[in-house]
């Protein structure tokens, strides 16, 4: 799905492609998640990294980018770099540089990405601590407001957006989605869904307070004016404005 001449969402994938940057953009990978959970007593089968690799591989095949931008939360643990996180991080970097034509990996640091500065060199990625302006795009993770006034197009992650749809016969379906708004003080905004396998997302159309999670929703963006672009199977479906999807029942 093309958003304009330069930006598109790759069909059915939680990935953005920006032509002018020759870049794929993804967010909220939370690598090492299962390892961290195992340390806490939940022994999840390891599928997250594999699933992420599959997505990136598909994206690379479709768009043939040279850059990968991770818009925050490449790993999961706040307090340290867990050994499983390191292993998966390294594995992921090797994969990206050897199995795709991507040469450059840029990480916008998210709230989970503590203590990874020291990995920059050995693993070979670029890192921006708060936000980064690349071309006309301002990348930031989202737990804080962006500082820069540069950039016509804001790209954010962090909230793991999804929408919930209730049905009259009693079902509830949750769909991961991009949130897309065309007017934030004259700038456009897109929020990326989570890449993590186990993060089914935060329902933005039920009675939950999003502004506590991401201040941008308290200061400037009206979530109700944003569109939900949902991940279908192999396609992106526009469900329209969040304002009309509030607690929707069909």
């Amino acid at each position: 799905m093309k958003l304009d001449g330069d930006v598109e969402i790759l069909d059915g994938l939680p990935l953005l492609h920006i032509k002018s940057l020759s870049a794929l953009i993804c967010s909220d990978l939370h690598l090492g998640y299962e390892g961290v959970m195992a340390d806490r007593g939940t022994f999840l089968p390891k599928v997250n990294l594999k699933n992420i690799k599959d997505i990136v591989k598909k994206g690379a095949r479709l768009a043939d980018p040279t850059t990968l931008i991770v818009n925050g939360d490449i790993k999961n643990e706040f307090s340290d770099v867990h050994v499983e996180e390191f292993n998966e991080f390294r594995d992921f970097m090797t994969f990206v540089t050897s199995e795709t034509r991507i040469k450059r990996v840029v990480l916008i640091k998210g709230n989970h990405d503590n203590f990874i500065d020291r990995l920059k060199k050995p693993l070979g990625f670029e890192m921006h601590t708060q936000e980064a302006t690349l071309g006309r795009y301002l990348f930031f993770h989202g737990e804080e407001l962006p500082h820069s006034s540069a950039g016509k197009f804001l790209i954010m992650g962090h909230v793991h957006p999804s929408i919930s749809i209730f049905s009259k016969i009693g079902a509830k379906e949750k769909l991961r989605c991009f949130l897309y708004g065309t007017d934030f003080i004259g700038r456009r905004v897109i929020v990326l869904p989570a890449m993590n396998f186990f993060a089914d997302g935060f329902s933005v159309n039920t009675d939950q307070d999003l502004s506590r999670l991401a201040p941008i929703f308290a200061k400037g963006i009206d979530i109700n004016q944003m569109e939900a672009l949902c991940l279908g199977e192999g396609e992106i479906l526009n469900f329209g404005n969040i304002g009309k999807l509030h607690n929707i029942e069909i």
Binding site: E34, G35, M37, A38, D39, R40, G41, T42, F43, L44, P45, K46, V47, K50, E84, N87, I165, F166, S167, K168, I169, G170, A171, K172, E173, L175, F197, F198, D200, C230, G232, E233, G234, E235, L237, F239, G240, K244, L245, N247, I248, E249, I250
Partner: protein
């Protein structure tokens, strides 16, 4: 071989078989042995495995312990008694353990008063979760001769190397309250612990099972005795179930229960309970749920000004102190009335109960008999009880149930077979004690009755899972709980933390996050699950504990509602607290319906019948009277049953039975949903399977999600009213469903149901995949809650045959559902052995009301996910367009 004992031994023979001091004490106390004792004294003396089923007050405790005490006394007198455990007694309840301890200690003290020689006395010890650390140390240094414990504590003890030594001379093992264990995973767990114990000490012991009514008896006996390789161990059955006389009646609180409103029925129920309380010294009231118990206590106090000194609640959610307090007051005869859900059903000593009142159907004949049997002090007394029904279906159900009890027709239990999650726990436990050869372990496991048919391949898949083969080598350090050498065919312990994982996470009862449901003026109504709350929107109507409420808002762990009497739920519950109706009883009800239908259709002309019904003066006709008079019912009940059948016949023209399936197409009150009601009275376990199959078949005919509502009496398919169903399409639906392979179709289609998610979470927790306690830290259920649907999906990526997934399907097909019987019924429908008739009604017929209001719900989603999301998209856009 399993042998049913027919001829009791003579009193002399029975008494002669026990030690003289004990005999003297026994005769001075009880004069002569009770019926079960006249079998058991001698059988146990001869070291036979025995199953004893008998009602409260029949001297069950001494049936089991007499010969054991006698044996130990002989050892004591011959100075051969050592500080070793000779007998282990296991009951599912700690409270019962305390009783047993007291009931053995007091007699032993009295007996030893007669013995002037300086002898080593028989010692008794309790070991449960409540046992203090110092007491545990003491038991280790000086083990009691008789150890009283719970299944969970036993599972811990057999993993303690030091304690194992103390059990090396074990001679007897007693399982009490077998009916609470043999039909569930807790019992399966225990059965494996016992086999491991036998293997560990290297010799067998006498096995004694005790319980209330438990049929089929030979299955229960096999559960107690187990196997020795391929050979079934011998066991003798002593069945004294019916030695205590029962006197009971099904009572309709009002004359016209079909049309009376909730308030009138409630008022009448409480008035009746109060009358019974007043008439007797002590009354025991049973409800079917904990919230029901709370409500009854609250109402009795409020309505009749009883205080806490007169009436008390007793159920599993209450603290131990409160429960002990209530038991004590009962024993002292100080309480007028105790209200309980299940906790007082077991053999806890509660003194003399004059009368039992059961509110609503207890769902099985065995349970009805067990509960009513709590009244009357000894087996020589008559046990008296009343079953007060709460609605029309309840009335028919309870009437048939008590009639079956009168005729001694019992329903059957089943033991979960080859449960892989419970076995996973034991493999971890076993690996801690020694290095095992795979073959030896497999042999030991198959000696346990619930695992006798275990497939080697399933056992191997568990070894692979537990040794962490589903993750890469570098992660096994954390994931693996055993080491397993597939070349050498051996396995053993791995990891320092594993021992603790076993101790702190073993057990079979799943954790749930319960949300309290409150009225807005802060009255507690009951609880719902967190996942159900997640589906509620303000304004939704849902049923809880037999009433309907409107959801208003929720705050942390609390959900606030307004009463919405008489309204039809917009969201039915996803999980029922109620136990399912047993199959045997369902069939009995079906044939009762048939008789009543024949009788009722002989009635008057349609016109005069309607006029009589309207005036409320319809009385059972002669033929119906004959049937009803032979049943244990009050007059209101007879009247109400007849009226109920008449209304159904006049409205729908047909009465569904076990051989005649009525299928009713209708719409719900708001006209937003079409309903297809299957009046299939086969019990929830069968309807659970049938309903999903029919929903899947309908989903294949139309691109829709199909809602289902499941009850004991039938099931409902719910579809949007935009889907136009005709009699012809329903007929096609039935034909299509009949042509399906049920197991295969369900396996492929229930992946995304609520039931699958829930059961998978339980199985994952039991298999130590999701721990509740790790590294000594408790993990709240909330923290464990990674979306279970996603964990399931992740496990499927490993393999569709991942043992936890396999166990989830097994649990669903065999424990939750009764798939074999459901398959048989489907075959009967397709062959025409069960006839069916499709009718159309403007509003749901009388027999379907409770199905619509109180059914347990789920949804069969469209199978093709791409299509499903597209369909959602289309509907959402259409809906937004309208706004």
């Amino acid at each position: 071989m399993i042998t049913q004992c027919k001829e009791p031994f003579s009193i002399e023979e029975s008494l002669d078989s026990v030690n003289i001091f004990i005999r003297k004490w026994f005769v001075s106390k009880y004069k002569e042995p009770t019926p079960p004792q006249r079998y058991s004294f001698k059988l146990i003396k001869e070291n036979k495995n025995v199953l004893i089923t008998a009602p409260t007050g029949s001297g069950k405790t001494f049936s089991a312990f007499m010969s054991i005490l006698s044996d130990l006394m002989n050892m004591s007198l011959a100075a051969k008694l050592e500080d070793k455990i000779y007998c282990i007694y296991i009951s599912p309840l700690r409270a019962l353990n305390n009783d047993i301890y007291r009931n053995l200690t007091v007699p032993l003290n009295e007996i030893y008063q007669d013995i002037t020689l300086p002898v080593k006395k028989i010692s008794i010890g309790i070991r449960t979760g409540d046992t203090t650390q110092s007491e545990r140390q003491k038991q280790l240094r000086r083990p009691p001769n008789i150890l009283v414990t719970t299944p969970e504590s036993l599972a811990i003890l057999i993993n303690s190397p030091k304690f194992a030594e103390n059990m090396s001379s074990l001679k007897y093992i007693i399982i009490d309250e077998l009916h609470e264990l043999a039909n569930n995973k807790r019992g399966v767990h225990l059965s494996m612990s016992i086999e491991r114990l036998a293997n560990m000490i290297g010799h067998d012991f006498t096995r004694i099972g005790m319980g209330a009514t438990l049929y089929p008896l030979d299955e229960a006996a096999r559960f107690v005795a187990g196997y020795d390789g391929e050979k079934e161990r011998d066991c003798f059955i002593v069945d004294a179930t019916w030695d205590k006389k029962l006197d009971f009646t099904a009572i309709s609180p009002v004359k016209d229960i079909v049309n009376a409103n909730d308030t009138v029925v409630d008022n009448a129920i409480y008035r009746m309970i109060n009358q019974t309380i007043k008439k007797n010294n002590t009354t025991l009231v049973f409800t079917n749920t904990r919230s029901g118990t709370e409500r009854v206590v609250y109402n009795l106090m409020k309505r009749f000004k009883y205080s806490e000194e007169h009436i008390a609640a007793h159920h599993g959610s209450l603290s131990r102190e409160i429960r002990l307090g209530v038991e004590d007051l009962l024993k002292k005869g100080k309480l007028k009335c105790a209200v309980s859900s299940t906790s007082l059903e077991l053999g806890i000593d509660i003194g003399t109960i004059d009368n039992v009142v059961q509110i609503g159907s207890p769902k099985s004949v065995a349970r009805a008999v067990q509960r009513i049997g709590r009244s009357g002090h000894s087996f020589r007394d008559v046990a008296r009880g009343e079953v007060i029904v709460t609605n029309r279906d309840d009335l028919v159900e309870c009437s048939v149930m008590l009639d079956a009890a009168k005729k001694h027709h019992m329903d059957s239990f089943t033991t979960p077979k080859n449960a892989l999650d419970v076995l996973a726990q034991h493999i971890v436990g076993m690996s801690q004690t020694k290095k095992w050869s795979v073959d030896e372990a497999f042999y030991v496991i198959r000696n346990s009755y619930p695992y006798h048919t275990l497939q080697k391949q399933d056992f191997m898949s568990l070894l692979e899972y537990l040794s962490g083969m589903y993750v890469g080598l570098e992660s096994r350090r954390v994931y693996a709980k055993i080491w397993y050498d597939s070349q050498e065919g051996t396995f053993g312990k791995r990891g320092k933390l594993t021992r603790l994982i076993y101790y702190l996470n073993l057990g079979t009862i799943p954790d749930e996050v319960a949300i309290d449901v409150m009225t807005r003026d802060n009255k507690w109504i009951g609880s719902i699950e967190e996942e159900f709350l997640a589906r509620l929107k303000p304004g939704d109507i849902f049923a809880l504990a037999g009433k309907t409420y409107r959801f208003e808002y929720s705050r942390v762990m609390k959900c606030y509602v307004d009463p919405a009497p008489g309204e039809v739920p917009t969201i039915p519950p996803w999980y029922s607290e109620q136990l399912p109706l047993t199959y045997e009883l369902a069939l009995d009800i079906g044939s009762f319906r048939e008789q009543m239908a024949v009788a009722a259709t002989r009635s008057l002309s349609r016109k005069s019948a309607i006029s009589l019904l309207k005036k409320g003066t319809m009385k059972p006709n002669e033929q119906a009277k004959k049937i009803l008079d032979a049943m244990p019912l009050n007059e209101n009940a007879k009247f109400a049953i007849f009226n109920y059948f008449m209304e159904q016949i006049l409205y729908a023209g047909y009465v569904p039975t076990d051989r005649f399936l009525l299928v009713e197409k209708t719409v719900d009150e708001e006209g937003e949903r079409s309903l297809v009601i299957f009046h299939s009275l086969f019990g929830r376990r069968i309807n659970d399977a049938l309903s999903r199959l029919f929903a899947i078949a309908l989903g294949e005919m139309y691109p829709i999600d199909v809602g289902i509502n499941i009850t004991d009496n039938g099931f409902v398919l719910v579809v949007p009213s935009s889907v136009k169903l005709s009699k012809a399409t329903i007929s096609e639906l039935i034909k299509n469903a009949c042509g399906m392979n049920m197991r295969l179709t369900l396996t492929q289609n229930i992946r995304r149901t609520e039931m699958m998610k829930r059961r998978f979470r339980y199985c994952a927790a039991r298999s130590f995949m999701i721990l509740r306690n790790y590294k000594g830290k408790k993990i709240s259920v909330r923290r464990q809650q990674v979306n279970s649907q996603l964990i399931l999906k992740a496990a499927e990526e490993i393999s569709r045959d991942f043992p936890i997934i396999k166990e989830t399907y097994r649990e669903i097909f065999e424990d939750v559902m009764d798939l074999p019987r459901a398959e048989r019924i489907l075959k009967d429908i397709s062959r025409g052995d069960i006839a069916y008739k499709i009718i159309e009604t403007a509003v749901p017929s009388p027999f379907s009301h409770t199905m619509i209001t109180f059914g347990e719900a789920d949804v069969i989603l469209m199978k093709d996910r791409r299509r499903h999301i597209r369909e959602l998209h289309k509907l959402v856009l259409a809906r937004i367009g309208k706004k």
